[in-house]
């Protein structure tokens, strides 16, 4: 056996080229307990390899044709042996890769490993982050379900806002004047050929740089990076270094293996994602949502005032990316330990808190009307019971009007935006106690005119008859605590000071 290997090696020269790379020394500290922080880069790489393998498997069955994509996915989910598992694994390994990349990036940032002489490694890393996110986005499009279709529509509309060039960008994105087969083919080429190619190029440069500039030593408070003296300092570190082929590699391997096991278990237990339905744009009930890594952007845009929207859509992401690129140039030298870098630690905390809150908002999306609430969410029964209000309440004499008002509330789709007892849309305020808060006149005014200037509520004045408005307001004024009187405007008695 040894002779066969020797025969190959005499021709490939692997021992003399590859072995020094594998056994290159890394700082002793990186082989100690601190070394566990260093595993996330290789975990990201491992999950990328899983994606390539599962992606190739999927490409043997998936048909990137607008007419057949859905059928091929259904076939993979239900007919292809283990097709469901491959689809699920491709999704969860992809999600896992995004998580690992973010953890790796945060660790590098907090340990100041991007400082001299590893600035270019960071820059390559930012490119890798962009490629990873692009893969996630283009991958969702390939699922070619209503979420994907309308997601592309939103992307096209955003691109359409680019000044002057808007329509050209839209047609390049869509591959034509409409969303269709050309769009799917385009995104397939991007997802399978172009972006992986770019990713592998950046990966090669990134790994080359890690090899050439070395793995950074764990940060020590007080040990500052000075470009004039760092190289000599690092050389000295390496003299007491340990070879990578050994404990450090084993650590990388362990965490990578655990990551693989985690995504496999997730895939096997949860199963494949979608497709959520056939890609028929005329199907009603479409409620598109972006994939989880983009929910924060979805929430940010949905919560922005309309005047700032185009700026946030088009300029803000560019600014964010430029800031990421500039990190190693703004803070090239100085302290590396997080305990001495309060701005860095604070930035990370603020960033992740913001992303977390925005993602949570993106999940619940309270700004979206609940399209089925008007017919699917009934008025809570106790609000319709006459006995709820005290004996002397004037409304009790005309209770059938109250019931008619409740019917108007439902039929005019008010519940799509307004909840009762938490059941219904979240876009507008919950109306459960509205009778104790707004007077009859205020209610008529609000419903008739909505929010002036086209804000949050449309004007319903012309959308119902005066009789319907009457009974609706009758019902709404009963929506108060049993012992609460209906809202009344403050009265001024002549001769006394205003309250």
């Amino acid at each position: 056996m040894k002779r066969i290997l020797a025969w190959f090696d005499a021709r490939l020269s692997i021992r003399e080229s590859l072995l020094p790379m594998l056994t290159h020394p890394i700082p002793r500290g990186a082989a100690g307990p601190m070394g566990w922080w260093y595993v996330f880069g290789s975990a990201s790489l491992t999950l990328f390899v899983v994606q390539i393998l599962t992606g190739i498997a999927l490409s043997l069955v998936f048909v990137p044709s607008a007419a057949e994509a859905y059928d091929s996915l259904i076939y993979m989910n239900f007919d292809q042996p283990l097709g469901w598992f491959l689809r699920a694994l491709h999704y969860y390994a992809g999600s896992g890769m995004v998580v690992m990349v973010l953890v790796h990036m945060t660790q590098v940032f907090l340990h100041g490993a991007y400082k001299y002489p590893r600035e270019l490694t960071w820059v390559m890393g930012v490119f890798l982050l962009l490629c990873t996110m692009s893969m996630f986005f283009t991958g969702q499009v390939l699922r070619w379900d209503p979420d994907a279709y309308w997601g592309i529509a939103v992307g096209a509309s955003m691109s359409g806002r680019v000044p002057i060039l808007g329509p050209y960008v839209v047609h390049l994105l869509l591959g034509g004047p409409v969303i269709g087969g050309d769009t799917l083919s385009r995104f397939y080429a991007l997802h399978v050929f172009l972006i992986p190619g770019a990713l592998m190029f950046f990966l090669a440069v990134h790994l080359w740089l890690v090899l050439k500039r070395g793995v950074s030593e764990p940060p020590v408070p007080g040990q500052v990076v000075d470009p004039n003296t760092y190289d000599a300092h690092y050389e000295k570190e390496l003299q007491t270094g340990v070879p990578f082929l050994g404990e450090p590699l084993l650590r990388d391997a362990l965490v990578s293996a655990l990551a693989v096991i985690a995504v496999v278990v997730l895939a096997a237990v949860i199963g494949p994602k979608g497709p959520s339905g056939p890609p028929d744009p005329t199907l009603s009930g479409a409620n598109p949502r972006p994939e989880w890594p983009f929910l924060w952007l979805f929430a940010l845009l949905s919560l922005s005032p309309p005047a700032a929207e185009t700026f946030i859509m088009l300029v803000f992401p560019v600014v964010l990316i430029v800031v990421l690129f500039l990190v190693p140039f703004v803070s090239r030298r100085g302290e590396r330990a997080p305990s001495r870098r309060p701005v860095a630690v604070l930035s990370v905390l603020v960033l992740f808190t913001t992303l977390g809150v925005l993602t949570y908002e993106g999940v619940s999306a309270p700004w979206s009307p609940k399209m089925t609430a008007w017919s699917g969410d009934p008025v809570p029964k106790y609000l319709l019971e006459k006995k709820r209000l005290p004996e002397k309440s004037p409304e009790k004499k005309h209770w059938p009007r109250i019931l008619q008002g409740a019917a108007v509330l439902q039929v005019k789709q008010c519940r799509n935006c307004h909840a009762l007892e938490g059941l219904g849309g979240q876009r507008g305020p919950d109306l459960t106690g509205i009778g104790g808060r707004m007077t009859r006149d205020q209610l008529i005014d609000q419903i008739s005119n909505g929010t002036p200037g086209g804000g949050n509520m449309p004007a319903f004045g012309k959308q119902m008859t005066p009789a319907e408005m009457d009974v609706l307001v009758d019902f709404l004024t009963t929506l108060r605590e049993s012992d609460q009187p209906p809202a009344e405007p403050p009265t001024q008695v002549a001769g006394t000071a205003a309250p």
Partner: protein
């Protein structure tokens, strides 16, 4: 550029060097130009097409309803993705001509499909809560304008025809064929 062993280069060698560069440039050009042209082929203008949506008498006056059809701006392999909807409302006679209102289903904010609610007379968008009145005017929410009206006509046989809608955006509405 001169050969290291000779003190000066004969003119013929210089000529052949430049010839090589020229041939190289030519080969790059004849490879590159068609490739780039292909990649930007999506920007080629498509001629306007019309879709017949039925007789005028099929549309009761004052009733907005969604009409679906296969968009002729499709590729042959689009399947159900080419199903397109428009909201049509017959407005009665304007003078002696039939008047219609034809609106695209795409919200003017970011393109999601709006739903029509006849009981309240409102179009509502599921994505960010844009709302429009029956005539397409903006009622509330983030859309910067009303819904996109489509170009329509009544042909000689008394049938409503609508111009095949390309994907509408703020700078490329449906009032004309695709800008690109």
């Amino acid at each position: 550029m001169t050969h290291p062993s000779t003190p000066s280069q004969p003119e013929r060698r210089t000529f052949f060097h430049w010839l090589t560069y020229a041939v190289g440039a030519a080969s790059a050009a004849i490879l590159g130009v068609p490739l780039v042209g292909f990649l930007f082929g999506a920007l080629r203008k498509k001629e306007e097409q019309w879709v017949t949506l039925g007789k005028v008498s099929d549309y009761p006056q004052g009733q907005t309803r969604m009409v679906t059809f296969d968009n002729p701006l499709r590729q042959p392999w689009d399947g159900m993705t080419a199903h397109t909807g428009v909201f049509v409302c017959y407005l009665g006679k304007k003078g002696d001509k039939d008047d219609f209102r034809v609106l695209a289903v795409n919200c003017a904010h970011l393109g999601c499909p709006v739903s029509w609610f006849p009981r309240s007379g409102l179009f509502m968008c599921p994505c960010h809560g844009g709302v429009y009145y029956e005539n397409g005017d903006h009622a509330s929410g983030p859309p910067p304008r009303g819904m996109f009206p489509c170009v329509w006509r009544v042909n000689k046989e008394g049938k409503l025809e609508v111009q095949a809608p390309h994907y509408p955006s703020l700078q490329d509405t449906l009032q004309k064929p695709a800008k690109v």
